[in-house]
């Protein structure tokens, strides 16, 4: 579990820096009796919370041990952490928005702009440092070479980061130190996959997904930086054009709230893509890089009569998983087809595939799963409903339309439709087997797995 990567180093460094500054701001706010400072320090506190969440989920997801609690490990923890951070930030933006609206209704002036200016500038500096530290994840991750070779590591300090050369050097030292302990995951990558461009694309995707965690934290830091910018600007205006206590608030008092509104818009517009991306993973959606239509090549594999219950989803970090049921005529058909199907999946970027063979029983339709659970009563607990709106026929038989995603194969055995419907609407039109009543289905359940 002691696997450190540059990521954790940075997070911990940022944590230390932020907590130090939080304490300093709090203390000086109380000593100087400035509410603005105290409330700005609480912004730092929310930053701290997001950093803690980021570190904690990073460690959880890197936990190698897969116990009886989680058969897939905890790789998804980063996605959950990123979602939590994004939602947390959205909620904070909401409260900031409320306060800004209140301020617009009742403008107030800033007292003691000098102190506010100084501390605001310091806060801005801290946030900029944070942004620089994390910025290679904030920007497009694909630009950098995957960290395959040590020499590349040394040059990996991003361009603008040269301005903060000291920090850059610190982190490259950090990275070299961790390079020795970095997971052989990366080393394995370098050995085998240097030559394969497709593999490198996958690596980049992995990096991008791993970075979800950091992106969540980065959002917070960015929000904080923008807040500090606004504080500095507003305080500077009050410093340059001081307002007496007696004169009513003029346009100067409206600068702060209006800039805050702009900031909220900016933050929200960057939080939503992160939420969408984590939702893609957490809702078991088809990963972006995978083309479901491309998988229609599966039906071209000889020996495959039809496919159903095709599921493709991303576990985390670019690891795609697929399961499907395939109907074949014979066992040897299945074994030949299985290898070729895996090739197709491999081309599509899906490397963990579980294929369940079913053998064609002429009593059942080709599209219906021969072996769902053992009893009808479980139908509601299947992952995907096998039947649609109950289409009852006159004799009480229920037509079962294979609604799980189904791919049809055009061959002589299958006299059903030719197209490749994934959605249920087409599948309904395809089935013509009105004799597939439940009675025969029951029998087929008993015999379907027998050959």
């Amino acid at each position: 579990m002691g696997r450190y990567s540059g990521k954790t180093c940075r997070l911990i460094f940022m944590l230390v820096l932020t907590s130090g500054f939080f304490v300093a701001e709090l203390v000086s706010g109380y000593l100087g009796n400035s509410i603005a400072l105290v409330s700005d320090s609480f912004n730092m506190l929310s930053d701290l919370i997001s950093l803690c969440v980021g570190i904690a989920t990073g460690r959880i997801s890197r936990r190698a041990r897969r116990g009886p609690g989680a058969t897939y490990g905890y790789g998804r923890a980063e996605a959950v952490g990123a979602l939590s951070n994004a939602v947390f930030l959205t909620a904070l933006c909401f409260t900031i928005l409320v306060e800004a609206v209140l301020r617009l209704a009742r403008p107030e002036r800033i007292d003691g702009p000098e102190l506010v200016l100084i501390v605001g500038a310091l806060g801005l500096a801290v946030n900029l440092v944070g942004l620089l530290i994390f910025q290679d994840w904030g920007s497009c991750c694909g630009r950098r070479q995957p960290r395959a070779a040590a020499p590349e590591q040394l040059q990996a300090v991003p361009g603008p980061g040269r301005a903060a050369a000291a920090i850059g050097v610190f982190f490259s030292v950090c990275r070299i130190y961790t390079q020795h302990r970095v997971s052989s995951l990366n080393a394995g990558d370098s050995l085998n996959t240097q030559k394969r461009p497709e593999e490198q694309t996958v690596q980049k995707k992995e990096k991008k997904s791993e970075a979800l965690n950091i992106r969540g934290v980065l959002l917070h830091v960015m929000g904080d930086a923008l807040g500090s910018v606004i504080v500095v600007v507003a305080a500077a205006i009050f410093y340059a054009l001081p307002l007496d206590a007696n004169t009513p608030c003029n346009w100067q008092c409206y600068v702060d709230p209006s800039l805050t509104l702009v900031m909220v818009v900016i933050i929200l517009s960057s939080a939503f893509p992160l939420i969408k991306e984590t939702a893609t993973i957490l809702l078991q959606m088809v990963p972006k890089g995978v083309n479901m239509q491309g998988l229609s090549k599966l039906t071209d594999v000889p020996g495959v009569s039809s496919l159903h219950e095709v599921h493709v989803w991303e576990l985390a970090g670019g690891k795609n998983i697929a399961t499907l049921h395939v109907k074949c005529q014979t066992t040897s058909d299945y074994q030949d087809a299985s290898y070729k199907m895996r090739e197709v999946f491999h081309e599509a970027g899906i490397h963990s595939v579980t294929i369940q063979p079913e053998y064609i029983d002429h009593k059942t339709s080709e599209l219906i799963c021969s072996s769902p659970c053992i009893s009808k009563a479980c139908a509601s607990q299947l992952c995907c409903p096998q039947q649609e709106v109950a289409v009852t026929h006159d004799n009480g038989c229920l037509e079962k339309n294979g609604l799980s995603p189904t791919l049809h194969k055009n061959n002589s055995i299958n006299e059903n439709a030719v197209e490749i419907p994934i959605e249920h609407t087409l599948a309904g039109a395809v089935i013509k087997n009105t004799d597939n009543c439940k009675k025969s289905d029951d029998k087929s359940y008993l015999h379907s797995t027998h050959f």
Partner: protein, 503 residues
């Protein structure tokens, strides 16, 4: 057959209706509060109205989740349908609530350092009471089927136990926290209360698993299972409304205490406010030394009322935050665990694996995964190694039965045959992807030559089956093959048969 022949299932519709009612009500009240605050120029009222707005947002999130989750069918974008949306909605609501608690905490701390007086306490009492009413209505709304449902579910479960039905009762959590248990009880929606006895019921506090293989086609009910995940969603909403109700209670209590006990500074005349020392208050025109309050009142200078009254508000807020966090944490944890694809609590993977391996004809089991999609939809996959296709056929049904008994009804079983396999050992997956894909597979890799059985868990090759098959006394060993000939019941960790980590 499902008598719910109508296209739209009832439960989500009820939920939607209730959510929309509450949404409309809350939004209306928010508008009222804003107007009143403008009329009375009360800042506190305005900020309280924004609490209502946050409630509205939570309701919107829950509504969106319910709408999404009704689409259970597979689409291009999501092969599982959108059932999981409700779990995610619950997580979002829980995090949102935590963030709100955080901001309330900050405000309370600020109030401790700088106490505020309440302006126009009567108006605040009035509007606070109205808000409380709205919130109580909301609580009732989301409680509504719970009480009856709870009773029904227990009675019903007795009935069903004697019936010939298969049902799964999914617990909505540990059931440890007493408060939570109460809340989840109240959120059980039970169709049997509406549809009679031929129902499948879910969502009680204890997890009960009853496997009964007889098939009763008449009792099939398609849309009931969603209760458990919908329950999570409703719980999120309920907690928001509860938080708001507590807030209203605090507002009312605080305002009335303030009204009765506080001696405000009169509008004119000198006044000294000992509670706030360093800032100028409008009426504090005199700043005498602090220990002369009595002297002052004798001299006719008014002293503002007892200071503890001002600290009541933040302290009550702190208590409320604690209560809310305590009740939100279980919801957060539960939805996070589902989203992390952990094994559902009621399933013991070790024993499942053991049962599978005990079957005659099964040589090895690997890549066993069990996870919960949403509600009671649990999905399992496994690779079963048999000797040849004929022997696989014999055990296929039993395998499905074993899964069914555990409540896992959507399974994908991949058979592998050692007779056609190459020189690979019994424990190795016959169908991994190419070797270089090892790193991109879901569960680590087994580099053919690189990863021989070592005693420790290396970072690359972490096979899923390894950890699962590890018996407790062999925690650190990399599991080897489950070399099980047909009759042997237990896999011996034979040092000689150290196969690679299975894929």
């Amino acid at each position: 057959m499902a008598d719910d022949g109508a296209g739209e299932p009832r439960q989500p519709r009820y939920r939607r209706v209730r959510l929309m009612c509450m949404l409309a009500l809350t939004f209306l009240f928010f508008v009222v509060e804003v107007v009143v605050s403008r009329v009375t120029a009360s800042l506190a009222m305005l900020s309280d109205s924004f609490h209502m707005l946050s409630d509205v947002m939570a309701l919107v999130v829950a509504l969106v989740a319910v709408r999404f989750a009704q689409r259970t069918r597979a689409t291009h974008k999501n092969t599982f349908g959108w059932v999981r949306a409700e779990v995610m909605g619950a997580l979002v609501n829980a995090v949102f609530l935590t963030a709100l608690c955080f901001t309330i905490l900050l405000e309370a701390i600020e109030r401790f350092t700088e106490p505020h007086e309440i302006q126009q306490p009567l108006v605040v009492i009035g509007v606070g009471a109205a808000g409380l009413l709205v919130n109580l209505l909301g609580l009732c709304l989301f409680h509504q089927h719970g009480g009856g449902g709870h009773g029904h579910s227990h009675g019903g479960s007795q009935h069903h136990r004697s019936g010939s039905r298969t049902k799964l009762e999914r617990s909505s959590g540990d059931g440890d926290a007493g408060l939570r248990k109460e809340e989840t009880n109240t959120l059980v929606e039970n169709r049997s209360s509406t549809n009679g006895v031929n129902q499948e019921k879910l969502g009680d506090c204890k997890a009960e698993l009853q496997a009964n293989g007889s098939i009763d086609p008449n009792s099939l009910d398609i849309e009931v299972e969603e209760d458990s995940s919908g329950q999570l969603n409703m719980r999120g909403v309920f907690l928001h409304v509860l938080g708001d109700a507590l807030g209203s209670v605090i507002v009312v209590v605080n305002a009335s205490v303030f009204y009765f006990y506080w001696n405000p500074c009169p509008k004119d005349g000198p006044c000294f406010n000992p509670c706030v020392d360093s800032h100028c208050i409008e009426n504090a025109t005199v700043a005498p030394p602090l220990d002369n309050a009595d002297l002052l009142s004798q001299e006719g200078i008014h002293v503002a009322g007892p200071c503890w009254v001002l600290y009541l508000d933040p302290s009550l807020c702190l208590i409320m935050v604690c209560i809310l966090l305590y009740t939100t944490y279980p919801l957060l944890k539960e939805s996070a665990l589902i989203l992390l694809q952990t094994v559902p609590k009621q399933i013991d993977i070790y024993s499942l694996n053991l049962k599978l391996r005990k079957l005659e004809g099964v040589e090895a089991v690997h890549e066993l995964h069990v996870w919960q999609l949403a509600g009671s939809r649990i999905i399992g996959t496994a690779h079963i190694k048999c000797h040849d296709p004929a022997s696989y056929m014999k055990v296929a049904k039993h395998i499905k039965e074993i899964f069914h008994d555990e409540g896992i009804h959507a399974t994908t079983i991949q058979p592998e045959f050692s007779s056609v396999g190459s020189e690979s050992g019994v424990g190795k997956c016959e169908f991994p992807c190419r070797t270089q894909c090892a790193l991109k597979q879901c569960c680590g890799t087994a580099e053919g030559s690189a990863e021989k059985k070592t005693g420790k868990t290396s970072s690359i090759a972490i096979s899923c089956s390894e950890i699962i098959i590890d018996s407790p006394h062999h925690k650190t060993r990399r599991t080897k093959s489950e070399n099980i000939p047909a009759v042997r019941l237990e896999a011996d960790d034979d040092p000689d048969t150290q196969y690679e980590s299975s894929l």
